[in-house]
């Protein structure tokens, strides 16, 4: 039986980055991936590196991730396409503007200063092609975006270089507690620590350890246009409507925002839906009307796990010592991956993490099921 210090279930952003850090710290590490590395949420991601408009529980993590993204290319040894472009969330009506003002106050009260409101003069000076009905915006200057495909390839390469064993097309069918833990995946794999980084399939892995997690697999959808002249610098979103929009250095406009496609029968692949493409396109054209004259060339989907409270599970297992969960990032895990890897590393070492992880504890679902937390 193959024996490792740590086995990581799931070869996405979180799994690969965690494996990399653990291997660099001297551990023997295997990544067990059911399909192929980065197949779903990781490579289908919009690639947003965003601290803007985060859930309060995630703000500190998102801020801590930014310097890790700035150094990611040199750290991983390959380009990840990171650009510090800023992120902007516009208000398209008065009610939205009020909500953004409340948001700024709330963030300030938590002790953060990275989000600020701008009026129309500043906004249109920053983004001259933005539709003029916009009334203001929330801005984070040092946010940006990275290229998910480049990032996955850089991570894959760095992990292999660091000595991580990567097993693709290998589905985990059983998990047995003890010292060591035993993973059933065709052959048996023994490991002192097991990381559940199985994304949308994280609840299935948790169930193998007898743990109940409420996770809904969801196909998040993206669109891309043909290349066009540069017209937008920041990553754009809009308050109250689903949208994320950015332009790559090659000129393609990448449009997403949480619209969903359909998951195929066996749950292993997904495809965009016409109606959702149409709605996503409408939201994009409302901010940049000239986009109507450009062509959408492609759309795609990746399957992501959504929790009821929109927060991920980053937590030791309650039922199986040695098992650590890091999954269910609800469509905004890309930016958090490097900092999540650090959290996984400290949890694996039995250290107290830098940041409070209570909001991400797996116990919250069981508590909700028992009626102790008002969902």
């Amino acid at each position: 039986m193959a024996r490792y210090d740590t086995a990581v279930i799931g070869g996405g952003m979180v799994g690969l980055w965690s494996a990399l850090l653990l291997a660099r710290a001297g551990q023997s590490v295997v990544v067990v991936e059911a399909q192929s590395v980065g197949r779903h949420a990781s490579s289908a991601s919009a690639g947003g590196v965003r601290s803007l408009n985060r859930h309060p529980a995630e703000i500190a993590l998102a801020r801590a991730a930014l310097p890790l993204w700035k150094s990611a290319a040199s750290d991983l040894g390959n380009d990840v396409g990171f650009q510090e472009t800023g992120q902007i969330r516009v208000a398209e009506d008065e009610a939205a503007l009020v909500r953004l003002e409340q948001r700024v106050e709330m963030v300030k009260a938590l002790g953060f200063t990275h989000e600020h409101l701008v009026g129309t003069n500043t906004l249109f000076a920053k983004e001259p092609h933005l539709a003029r009905h916009c009334l203001g915006a929330l801005v984070v200057e040092d946010d940006g975006f990275a290229d998910p495909l480049k990032t996955i390839h850089a991570l894959h390469h760095a992990a292999r270089t660091a000595g991580v064993t990567i097993m693709e097309n290998t589905k985990v069918t059983g998990l047995v507690g003890g010292a060591p833990l035993i993973i059933h995946a065709g052959d048996e794999i023994a490991a002192d620590t097991v990381i559940n980084a199985a994304g949308a399939w994280g609840a299935q892995v948790a169930a193998l350890a007898g743990e109940n997690v409420n996770l809904t697999p969801t196909a998040l959808q993206m669109l891309v246009t043909a290349p066009m002249a540069p017209f937008v610098s920041a990553v754009m979103g809009t308050e109250g409507r689903k949208l994320s929009l950015k332009q790559s250095s090659a000129g393609h406009v990448i449009i997403g925002g949480g619209f969903t496609g359909t998951i195929d029968g066996e749950g292993l692949s997904a495809r965009p839906q016409h109606a959702a493409i149409a709605q996503n396109a409408a939201n994009a054209a409302n901010l940049f009307p000239h986009l109507k004259e450009h062509r959408i060339v492609r759309s795609w989907c990746g399957i992501e796990g959504m929790t009821p409270d929109g927060l991920p599970i980053v937590s030791p297992s309650r039922t199986m010592p040695g098992l650590i969960h890091a999954f269910g990032f609800c469509g905004h895990g890309f930016a958090l991956a490097p900092v999540t890897a650090q959290l996984v590393q400290s949890l694996a070492a039995g250290n107290t993490p830098h940041w409070p992880l209570e909001p991400f504890n797996v116990a919250r679902f069981e508590a909700a099921a028992e009626g102790r937390i008002d969902a």
Binding site: S36, T225, G240, R298
Partner: protein
């Protein structure tokens, strides 16, 4: 029109034949077709060409007229999505309107497309496919002013050589990938081909004899081939028996036979299997067109390459089956016709191995500028399938949705990794099937977040 009972995608031989059967059976039938007029690639612009030189064969009108009478044919219409249900979403380009249809049955009759032929320099201006050249001649009566170099092999290449010369153009040179006489593999199929489809065989022999008698220079079975030029094709360099010759050519048309167009069947995730004689994937389909999705059927060359006459037969068979499935009386299908000359044609023009002429710096994916060498590097770094090469290199991510590179990429992977194409698989196809203006696809109302 109100929602149709049957939507046929493609107005070529099989689509028109299917539509005339379902329409005659009393089912409201709508044919969606991307071209300006019905006829498909092979009978392109049949109605307009009736009085011109080289009109399509009589069969074209025997199929087209009842289809016109029994079905509605919507041309200049791009199918952009297809889904279980079934439903089909199409852009009517003349009006810029997008409509979703939810008929009881959808018949995919999207026919064939040209097999990619990777020759160094194939993306230079001045190089086109033989099919594209024929389109320009058939549809717009455009005849090249300069002599054309025809490079490749197959019946279409011979036919275009004739049409070019008859329409007042000139063939400068033919570079044929095979030998002059059929080899043993082809001869084995010759008797059956002559017996089953004497008309087609006579036509083919006539075309070949005509080319031989025309005095056009023909270079056969080259060892190496490259198109060169500074910003535009200027010459073809042919290497044979260790000797290189450069032939001046400003307009070069390439052809290496045709393969099933699987864009829609791939989008529907149908089970596909590799057909060695076509060097291409085809969906695994029953002869009556049934697929694993209820209400979705496939007819004609989209099932596998058999040519126009058999595509008509397939269209009728599938049309009758659809009518019966929907509870309408339909003509019982005629006995399956022999696949007469196909085996001979496939053996006479065996598909060109993808690495026969391509070098590392030969473009594989024209949309994204990905070379054969870049794909090879991705394989060395661990890419084992086309979708992995795609994410590593952007191969297949451009506006053509991998129509130009998909087949070549699967074959390149199979060759380099020494594995069967069925294991290698194909690039995933996603909507929109054709690039579409964001303004055309955008919903009229904005969507609020939930």
């Amino acid at each position: 029109m109100s929602d149709p009972d049957v939507v046929v995608i493609g107005a070529g031989p099989s689509g028109l034949a299917a539509a005339s059967v379902t329409g005659a059976a009393g089912l409201k039938t709508l044919v969606l077709d991307d071209q300006p007029a019905p006829g498909g690639q092979v009978w392109r612009a049949a109605e307009a060409r009736r009085q011109r030189a080289f009109p399509p064969p009589r069969l074209a009108y025997e199929i087209l007229e009842p289809a016109r009478a029994n079905a509605t044919i919507a041309n200049t219409c791009d199918v952009i999505d297809l889904a279980e249900g079934p439903s089909v979403t199409a852009l009517h380009r003349r009006t810029g309107t997008v409509r979703e249809y939810t008929p009881s049955a959808i018949i995919i009759a999207t026919g064939a497309m040209e097999r990619p032929l990777l020759i160094p320099g194939w993306t230079l201006p001045g190089v086109m496919s033989v099919g594209a050249l024929q389109t320009a001649m058939k549809q717009s009566s455009l005849v090249p002013a300069t002599p054309v170099a025809l490079v490749g092999q197959g019946p279409l290449l011979l036919l275009v050589a004739r049409e070019l010369r008859k329409l007042g153009g000139a063939v400068g040179i033919v570079i044929s990938l095979g030998e002059r006489l059929p080899g043993r593999a082809a001869l084995r199929h010759l008797p059956r081909a002559v017996l089953c489809d004497p008309g087609l065989m006579a036509q083919g022999a006539g075309l070949a004899a005509e080319l031989a008698a025309s005095g056009v220079a023909v270079v056969r079975n080259p060892d190496g081939l490259a198109i060169e030029g500074n910003r535009q094709a200027e010459r073809i360099v042919v290497t044979k028996n260790g000797r290189s010759d450069a032939y001046p050519a400003q307009l070069i048309a390439l052809h290496d036979g045709v393969i099933p167009n699987t864009q829609l069947t791939r989008l529907m995730n149908l089970d596909h299997t590799w057909r060695g004689e076509d060097e291409a994937f085809a969906p695994r389909i029953a002869a009556d067109g049934t697929t694993e999705h209820e209400g979705i059927f496939v007819a004609g060359d989209a099932q596998g390459i058999n040519g126009a006459a058999l595509a008509v037969h397939s269209g009728r068979t599938v049309g009758a089956h659809v009518a019966q499935t929907l509870g309408r009386p339909a003509p019982s299908s005629t006995p399956a016709r022999q696949k007469g000359a196909r085996a001979f044609i496939s053996a006479l023009y065996p598909p060109t191995p993808v690495t026969r002429f391509a070098a590392d710096d030969t473009v594989l994916c024209r949309c994204e500028g990905v070379t054969v060498g870049a794909a090879r590097r991705a394989m060395k770094a661990g890419a084992t399938g086309p979708n992995r090469v795609k994410t590593a290199t952007r191969c297949g991510m451009g506006p053509c949705q991998s129509r130009l590179c998909g087949n070549a990429l699967t074959r390149l992977l199979a060759h380099e990794l020494g594995r069967p194409p069925d294991e290698i698989g194909a690039l995933r196809i996603r909507p929109p099937l054709k690039p579409i203006l964001l303004g055309d696809i955008a919903a009229p109302q904005l969507a609020a977040s939930s």
